[in-house]
Every structure is written in structure tokens, then in C-alpha cells.
């Protein structure tokens, strides 16, 4: 499949008729005055700026706060589609947790020859500290973001598993708030599943993973690197919505075998730490000794059952794009079922035969760094210049193990609002999943990212993409 094929339009079929999921919205849209819609479009940006829904970018001058562009046309998923998706997501998330547990224990999947051992050896996210240790409740990925793309009516693919620290959930929630404030009458006409109870579910899900030493009602805190972190808004937002403390590492220290936060009345133990900092900054005693961040000794407390860290340290091994290519095997190995959600076909450049194929077809492929994220360090063949392809070829030949390649998918499009009316743009979707011993919960919706440039396939906010509200219709 190539980008030249007509992409799947989620709102209209090839004959131009509105698909059933969009019927209610489309009717409403046609009734609105064009000038009024334009005014609303400008209003949306003002709402975001006023509320301070920003992310930070690091420029040479100082940390600067920016808005992620918001598009006011919702992306709509039918109830039936969503049911199918959630089954696939749940299966995948259960497999991910079983897989990580296995890697840090008996490594049966390696012994069975289904995943090569070198993938672990070469994995920067592997944490020897976690070997033989089971986190409270047996949960590794408490909060997961599964990135999905769509190419046809029944063709959803998993593009990426974010098992480490998926972000963006605050945009899912604020996009909905903004839509409800701007178009209240729309919501009374079209039945949309609510997303606003996510923080409450998150708080409950985290509390259900309290450590053995927790006495009484668990105290949950969100650990942020601080106000200059790109996702600080989200950290503060989630803490606020959960009624939890927002802590930085210097607020914490180990006292009497517990991790405690410095309050105005003295030190008080924390039971569950929803951390939004990377593993290597968690504990200078266990990991990076030069780091001034982190809580010395927190890993010892963790291993002795004094605190729950969410997501568990060492979970990032599952985010590796080389591991991703084995996910169909992984799902089957741990669930005994065929995967309900397929992967995007992935070529591992580490294999010489495959490398040759990839080099011969660079102009048609998307090539990604195994450990890369945020749209950096990747090549999108069909939209790159000959020069860019040649530069990338050199990097690829020098270090083939570091890359995977995928066909350029004809990502589905959703309409966005432009000055000339609705226009199709490519989208992806990140649903948010919560895992606790009580079960797996998937919030109906997620974050839809949209490429705002015509024809562009890159939806990352760091590359100029925007977001949309995502509706799951009620039955």
C-alpha cells in the first residue's frame, strides 16, 4: 500500500455520502452560519491560551510555552468500532504486562525462542534492579497509550505501544471541555460517551495498586521534573484533578523505610507515586549517580514493598521499536489467542537480507530509530528529498541495528476546519488504558492527533501537528 492510494476518509465514503457515525454532526454543521464557525475557531485558541493549556519547548532564549493547535471538528468513532478496538487493546495490554513480568523473571519467551535474547541485551531500558521483583499487584504498565492508525473501514493497526510514560491525556480532557463549552447544543443532539471521569478512574486505579506497607487509604502523588518540563501542564492538571500532591524529587526522601514528602507539618509517607520522570532520574543510588534529581534510596523502598511506582521502572523495554516488531508473537505467546489488532508490517534492518530490501526501497518506506520518539530521527521516504534519502542511507548503513522500516501507510483522514470549509487531513489515535489488579479500563475516546499540513503524514505536536476531540458514540 502506498500514499498514492486514496486514503480512507472517515467522514465520507468514496461516493461522497456521509458515513453513519458522522450523520448527526454533519447535519448540525450544515445548519451553522459559516462566519459564526469562523468566530468559534478563533475563540477556541483564546480559550486554550487563557486556561494555560500549554507545552514547553526549549529554545535558545528560555523555555517557551506553546499551544498545540486545536481543530474544532471532532473525530467520531461508532460504538461498534470502539467495542472492537477495546477488545484488541485490552488483549494487547494484558500481553504487554505478562511479557514484562516474564522478562524480569523466567524469560520463558526467550527460552521458547520466540524473541531473541539479544533484544534484551541491547535494550537501554532494561533494568537489572527489577530482576526477580514483582511490583505490587503484579502491574508494570499502570497507564498505557496505544497509538493506532487506520487505513480502511475495518483496518486498524497498532503503530506504537507507549508503556513507559504516555502523555497527552490532559489534551483529551481539555479538548472535550472546550468543545462542550463552545458547542453545548451539539452534545445534546449527538450522544457522546464521557471522558471526564478519567482522573477519577486514574486515582482509583493507582490506589488499587497500593504497596504492602500502605496502611489505610493510600496517598497518591504525581512526580514531575518541574515547571520547565514540556508536559508540566499535564502533570499539574492530573494532580489537581485527582486531588493528589504534585511533588518534585527534592520534596521526597527516604525515612524509616518509606518514601516521604516534606509537608508544612513534617514528613508524610507516599504510597503510590505516579512518576512522570524517566527511570534514570528516579534514584541516583541505583541509576545515574551524577543526577541531582531523584530520590536516593527509593528503589530499596520499592523493592521492600514500601511504595508503588507507576509505571514500574524498567517497563520501557516494551516501548522499543525492535520489540514492537515481535508483538504479534508476544500477544499469542501470553494470551494463546491470535492478536485482534495487527501491527504495521515491520522490517528489522538488523537482518542483512531485510536491510538490502529496505535500502532498495527507501523512497517508499518510513524508517525509524529503534529508540527514537516524537517524530525525530525518522525518514518518511515518499515526502523526502533525494538528498535527505541519501543522508539517511548513510546513517542506516553505518548502524543498521538501530533502525526498523515500515511501509508508508495511507493513514485515514478526518475533516479539519479551514477558512475554505472542511478539508481532509491524516490522523492517528492514542486511546488511554488503565491497568490495576481490578482490571483493565479504556476511556472511550483518546487523543486524536492530526497533521495540519495538507498531505502530511506526520502528526506529532513537535512537528507541527494538532489535536482534535475524539467522540465515541453511545449505542
Amino acid at each position: 500500500m502506498s500514499a498514492a492510494t486514496d486514503p480512507f476518509d472517515e467522514m465520507r465514503d468514496p461516493a461522497g455520502a456521509v458515513r453513519p457515525a458522522y450523520a448527526g454532526y454533519s447535519q448540525w454543521y450544515d445548519e451553522q452560519e459559516r462566519d459564526w464557525l469562523k468566530r468559534k475557531d478563533r475563540e477556541a485558541e483564546a480559550v486554550f491560551r487563557r486556561t494555560g493549556i500549554t507545552f514547553n519547548v526549549y529554545s535558545e532564549e528560555a523555555a517557551e510555552e506553546r499551544l498545540i493547535p486545536f481543530d474544532m471538528v471532532p473525530r467520531i468513532v461508532s460504538a461498534a468500532e470502539w467495542r472492537k478496538l477495546t477488545k484488541g487493546i485490552e488483549q494487547r495490554v494484558r500481553a504487554l504486562n505478562a511479557f514484562i513480568h516474564d522478562l524480569y523473571h523466567r524469560q520463558e519467551i526467550i527460552r521458547a525462542g520466540r524473541v531473541p535474547e539479544r533484544l534484551l541485551r541491547d535494550n537501554a531500558a532494561w533494568l537489572p534492579d527489577m530482576v526477580g521483583f514483582t511490583p505490587p499487584g503484579g502491574v508494570y504498565t499502570h497507564i498505557v497509550g496505544i497509538d493506532l492508525v487506520r487505513t480502511g473501514p475495518n483496518d486498524f493497526f497498532v503503530l506504537e505501544d507507549n508503556a513507559r510514560t504516555p502523555s497527552g491525556v490532559s489534551y483529551m480532557l481539555e479538548n472535550r471541555e472546550t468543545m462542550m463549552a463552545m458547542f453545548p447544543e451539539l452534545f445534546t443532539r449527538v450522544g457522546v460517551e464521557t471522558v471526564s471521569d478519567y482522573p477519577r478512574k486514574l486515582a482509583r486505579s493507582l490506589a488499587a495498586c497500593a504497596p504492602p506497607k500502605c496502611k489505610g487509604k493510600p496517598t497518591v502523588a504525581v512526580l514531575t521534573p518541574g515547571i520547565y518540563n514540556s508536559a508540566y501542564y499535564e502533570h499539574a492538571f492530573l494532580a489537581d484533578q485527582m486531588g493528589a500532591e504534585l511533588v518534585e524529587a527534592p520534596d521526597l526522601r527516604v525515612i524509616d523505610g518509606r518514601v516521604a514528602m516534606r509537608t508544612t507539618g513534617g514528613y508524610e509517607p507516599v504510597d503510590v507515586l505516579y512518576r512522570r520522570v524517566d527511570d534514570e532520574y528516579l534514584d541516583p543510588l541505583s541509576f545515574n549517580p551524577d543526577s541531582m534529581l531523584g530520590v536516593p534510596g527509593i528503589m530499596d523502598v520499592y523493592r521492600s514493598g514500601g511504595i508503588t511506582i507507576a509505571n514500574a521502572p524498567g517497563t520501557g523495554i516494551a516501548d522499543d521499536k525492535a520489540i514492537y516488531s515481535f508483538m504479534p508473537d508476544i500477544v499469542e505467546f501470553y494470551t494463546g489467542e491470535k492478536p485482534l489488532l495487527p501491527n504495521v508490517e515491520t522490517h528489522r534492518c538488523a537482518d542483512p537480507e531485510t536491510l538490502k530490501y529496505v535500502l532498495d526501497n527507501l523512497a517508499e518506506l518510513v524508517v525509524k530509530e529503534v529508540h527514537g520518539s516524537g517524530g525525530y530521527g525518522m525518514l518518511v521516504g515518499p515526502t523526502s528529498s533525494r538528498r535527505e534519502i541519501a543522508d539517511f542511507r548513510r546513517k542506516l548503513v553505518a548502524n543498521p541495528d538501530n533502525y526498523i522500516a515500515q511501509p508508508t501507510l495511507a493513514l485515514s483522514t478526518c475533516p479539519v476546519f479551514t477558512r475554505k470549509g472542511l478539508a481532509p487531513r491524516h490522523v492517528d489515535l492514542r486511546p488511554f488504558v488503565l491497568v490495576s489488579p481490578e482490571g483493565v479500563e479504556i476511556t472511550p475516546g483518546g487523543l486524536t492527533r492530526v497533521a495540519l499540513k495538507k498531505g502530511s503524514l506526520v502528526v506529532n505536536s513537535s512537528q507541527g501537528g494538532g489535536t482534535k476531540d475524539t467522540w465515541v458514540l453511545k449505542d
Binding site: R50, T51, T264
Partner: protein, 314 residues
Amino acid sequence: MLGRTANGLFWMFRYLERAENTARLLDAGLRMALTRDIISAEEEWRSVIQASGQGNAYRAKHGTFTGIQVWNHILRDRDNPGSVLEMMRNVRTNARLVRNAISGELWSVVNESWMQIDDALSRPVGQGAVGGVIAMIRRAGTLAHGAMVNSMLRDAGYNFANAGTFVERADNTARILDMKYYLLLPSLSYVGSSLDSGQWDQVLRSVSGDRAYRWLNAGQADPRGIVEFLVMDERFPRSLAFSHMMLRANLKALARIHKTEAESSRLIEQSSTMLGDLTIEKVFDEGLHEFLTRFMRSNAEIARAIADDYRFLR
């Protein structure tokens, strides 16, 4: 509540108070300068710079005291870390830091005010715009206090925010009074003789007390009365007595919440007893400047003790 959060609330409101007081001071200077000839207008602006505590930094850059230079220095000079722009940036940074301890209303008021002020101060402020900018800064304070009173939970955070407000306000009023005294009335015992009533009017204006004072004193301005009003009158919300009465109430609440008798509680009780026993004669016997210096020192000690008592620092 985290010590760091308490610290953020305390300083958010200190900076807000300081920015608002600076705007009041500029407002008074502006008003006085408009009613003066050029020479005495220069004196007014010099005293505004002095009272704002930015004399040295200003003199290092400028040789003259024209209004436009003075207000641009105080409002937005990039080399001036004590500019209103920087104070408001600190207000907003602290508000972000304590985002989950303040109400949504308070956050959006602060964020919106910051956006307006940042925009208004992104270019030099001319004669025609300065009045509007000053009003905008004062309104930011009023809106934030209104949002706080109407929407914030009455827990420790509210008391820390108020403690920051009233520590700063007490300091600012004392500093303005001291500066004016020092500059203009070297010997206060000769009350009323060669008094420039315009200068005293400016003192009242810089703490927005002119109207209240006139109301209470049937339009008569007398320096003794003005000092009494600004030091001891518990009815006036910017007086030393009022500020410490409020500080005392908030520190009492904090001590109750934390079940401690902290050092800051002891110090504020001392200050309250001192202010309660005070008469205007005692102030003048000690010397106004000496009295104010002593007050400012004890006020600063209370602020330090609050930080210690409630673990503000790492």
C-alpha cells in the same frame, strides 16, 4: 500541603502585592508630577525611585529623573530584576507551581492578567498609555484577591497566601512612609511649620489612603494624623496595624492547623502587643525612622520564621 507549595503560595502573593504597591506608587508620582513644574516634578520622580527601593540600579543607568524614564525603568526595564514585569512573571510562575493548590478561577485570572500585562509591557510605555498600564496592574491584584476570597478552600494554603500578602503590605507601607519621612521631613517635631502638604498627599495616594483619610479627618491633612492613620488605624487595610492584625489571624489559623506553637506565632504576638500599646507620642519619642526600621526588621523576621516553621526551604 508540601512545604514547596506553601512557599509558592506565600511568594505568589508577596509578588502580587509588591507589583500592586509599585503601581500605586507610580500612580501617585504621576499625579503629583502632572500638577508640578518641571523641577519639582523631577523631585517627585526621584522620590518614587527611592521609595521603590531601586535607587542604585536606576542611577547606574540614568542621570535624570524624567517621568517616562522612571516608569519605564520600574515597569519593564530588562536590566531591572525588580521591574513590575518580572514581579508579575514571578506571580504567574509561582501560580503554575502551585496550580493544584489554587482554584481554577484564581489561576485563570492570574494567567489572563499576565498575558495582558506582558503584552502591554512588550514595548516602551508612553505618556498616553502609562495610566492604563497602571490601572491594569492594580486591577490584576484586585481580581486575584477577589477570585481567592470567592473560590479558595479555607485551608492552610489560603493562610499562606494571606501571610504573603500582609507581610509584603506591611513592609511596603512602612517603606513608603520611611522614605517620605527621610526625604522630606528630617525633623518631624516641627510639625506643620514648613510642611509641603503635597508631599504628604502623595504618601496617602501611594497607599490609596487619600480618600479614606479625608473622610475620617474632614479634609484636614496633618502629618501627625497621617502617621497615626498609616501606622495604627486598624480600619485602614494598608496600615501597619491592619496588616499585622491580618497576619496574626492567619498565623493563628496555621498554628491551629499544624497543632504547633511556632516561632512565627510568638513573633507576631510580640508585634501585636507592641502595636496595641502604641501611641503616636511613643512613635515620635522614639523617632519615626527608628520606629519604622524596627518594625521592618521584625516584619522580615516573621517572614523568615514562617519559612522555617513550615519547611519552605529545601
